[in-house]
């Protein structure tokens, strides 16, 4: 009798479990009905709110859902390389061209640009405020050994920061603990910088939408070397047969079309434009 009772209860438990599955299945089925593509992109495009503004317009026009995995540029390219996304939408030109040259992607196009800004504490111990020379500003910060937070995560912003240190002819890691690599995304790195009143290189989009600014403000901007170009690449279908080439191309073509470019230009936070479309030429 007891064994019978145990079995009966076990079956009931299994049925309850199946009910949970059943409740999970329709949601899964719903999402697969619509054609979708996966885009590996950067935290700056996602967290600035650009995709929330842009993607519904594309989905309404074409019926194609766009699923964004937002990570650092280095990781986004890796996801594309492994074939886990259909499109890569990032900001590190030389790494993108390398990605195409190695055959992981095809047909890179410029999409838009914005710029990096050097953010720091309002007290500005290195006295760089108002300068338009990012390289001299970094030299001043290093000279004062003022705290500087680095992304340290192989992202597009991290690569841009390292290029600036190279131009400054400095090795920030050589001189003590004022240079702090956090190995984290733009937002977490900004949280860290706000917490320790440190200088940090940020992309303007994330900075504008970032809420926990503490005592930080933009100190240096407008240097040509702070230019930040975004590009879009189709993951190579010849390498990964499951890449949804038709839908992915539809998305890329729309983003660089006059309509998509106008949609990018119209995205603003508090009246300020975040990204400037410039998809005139096919690169690489």
């Amino acid at each position: 009798m007891r064994l019978f009772e145990t079995t009966r209860r076990a079956v009931m438990a299994a049925a309850m479990g199946a009910a949970i599955w059943g409740f999970a299945a329709p949601a899964g089925a719903q999402t697969t009905e619509k054609p979708f593509i996966t885009v590996a992109s950067t935290t700056s495009t996602e967290q600035s709110g650009l995709f929330k503004h842009l993607l519904p317009q594309f989905t309404e026009k074409t019926g194609i859902e766009v699923r964004v995995v937002a990570v650092g540029t280095g990781q986004a390219l890796k996801i594309g390389e492994r074939g886990d996304a259909d499109v890569v939408f990032v900001h590190a030109r030389s790494a993108e061209e390398d990605f195409v040259a190695k055959g992981f992607g095809v047909g890179r196009s410029d999409v838009m640009y914005n710029d990096f800004v050097l953010v720091g504490p309002k007290s500005d111990p290195a006295g760089v405020k108002g300068s338009r020379d990012a390289v001299k500003a970094l030299q001043a910060i290093a000279g004062k050994k003022a705290p500087f937070v680095s992304r340290g995560d192989d992202s597009g912003t991290h690569k841009a920061e390292l290029d600036l240190w190279k131009l400054a002819a400095l090795d920030p890691k050589a001189g003590g603990n004022w240079y702090r690599e956090t190995g984290s995304g733009m937002g977490p790195a900004l949280n860290t910088a706000a917490g320790m009143d440190a200088y940090i290189l940020a992309d303007r989009g994330t900075w504008l939408s970032f809420k926990n600014r503490g005592d930080l403000a933009i100190l240096v901007e407008g240097d040509d070397r702070l230019f930040n170009q975004y590009g879009i690449i189709l993951v190579n279908p010849a390498r990964h047969a499951h890449v949804k080439e038709k839908e992915a191309r539809a998305f890329i073509d729309w983003v660089i079309s006059p309509e998509g470019q106008a949609a990018i230009a119209s995205y603003r936070i508090e009246g300020e434009q975040l990204f400037f479309p410039n998809a005139s030429k096919k690169g690489a």
């Binding site: 007891r2 064994l3 145990t6 079995t7 209860r9 076990a10 479990g17 949970i20 599955w21 409740f23 999970a24 949601a27 899964g28 999402t31 996966t38 935290t43 967290q47 995709f51 929330k52 699923r67 964004v68 995995v69 937002a70 492994r82 074939g83 886990d84 995304g185 733009m186 937002g187 977490p188 900004l190 949280n191 706000a194 939408s209 970032f210 809420k211 926990n212 600014r213 990964h240 499951h242």
Partner: protein, 234 residues
Amino acid sequence: MQGFDEALAAAWRLIVTGDTALVEIAALSLKVSLTAVFCAALIGLPLGAALALARFPGRGAVIVVINALMGLPPVVAGLLVYLLLSRAGPLGPYGLLFTPTAMVIAQTLLVTPIIAALTRQVVADLWTEYSEQLTSLGAGRLRAVPTLLWDARFSLVTAILAGLGRAMAEVGAILVVGGNIDGVTRTMTTAIALETSKGDLPLALGLGIVLLVIVLVINAAAHLFGATARRAAG
């Protein structure tokens, strides 16, 4: 504490307005974690009980490994599942990466050792108490597994709740294998991580409070259910 006031206000707003995005996110969190715990219980309960009763060479080593796996870092579990499910990995053709199913697999991997290890301990204790009685009834060691699991059911609920706690709270594994895709794989914990990244700390903490309330309700329900069942069992 200005931050906490804002967080509480944000949590209250989220709950009373029944924000549809929040409901979807909370529902996905529950779906993924409950499914993972269910799968983990299916594997972990019999595995734990069998480990308590069976005698075979290397048993001690297996127990140590399972106990150690209770401390498996979620990011590592996430990476293992990522490499398995990635298009370039052995299970790539199924296209499961960045889906809720991938998240269930990763969480099952995290929760199974917890349920198995705690079950083993509970059943081993019970066995020392009842072994003479059960063997005299002619039940072999392994055939005693269902009986012992049933007798230990009230203690095992705690093991399962411990597993559920781990699943509901973790963010490292599902962030890697789910991708935190808006409307597809965004859960309570990945949304909290995202809002923290955006510097919206009050909203992040507000979401955290909502998550705590959900977990509290589940535990209260389990407690009440257990108390009623215990009374019915006499």
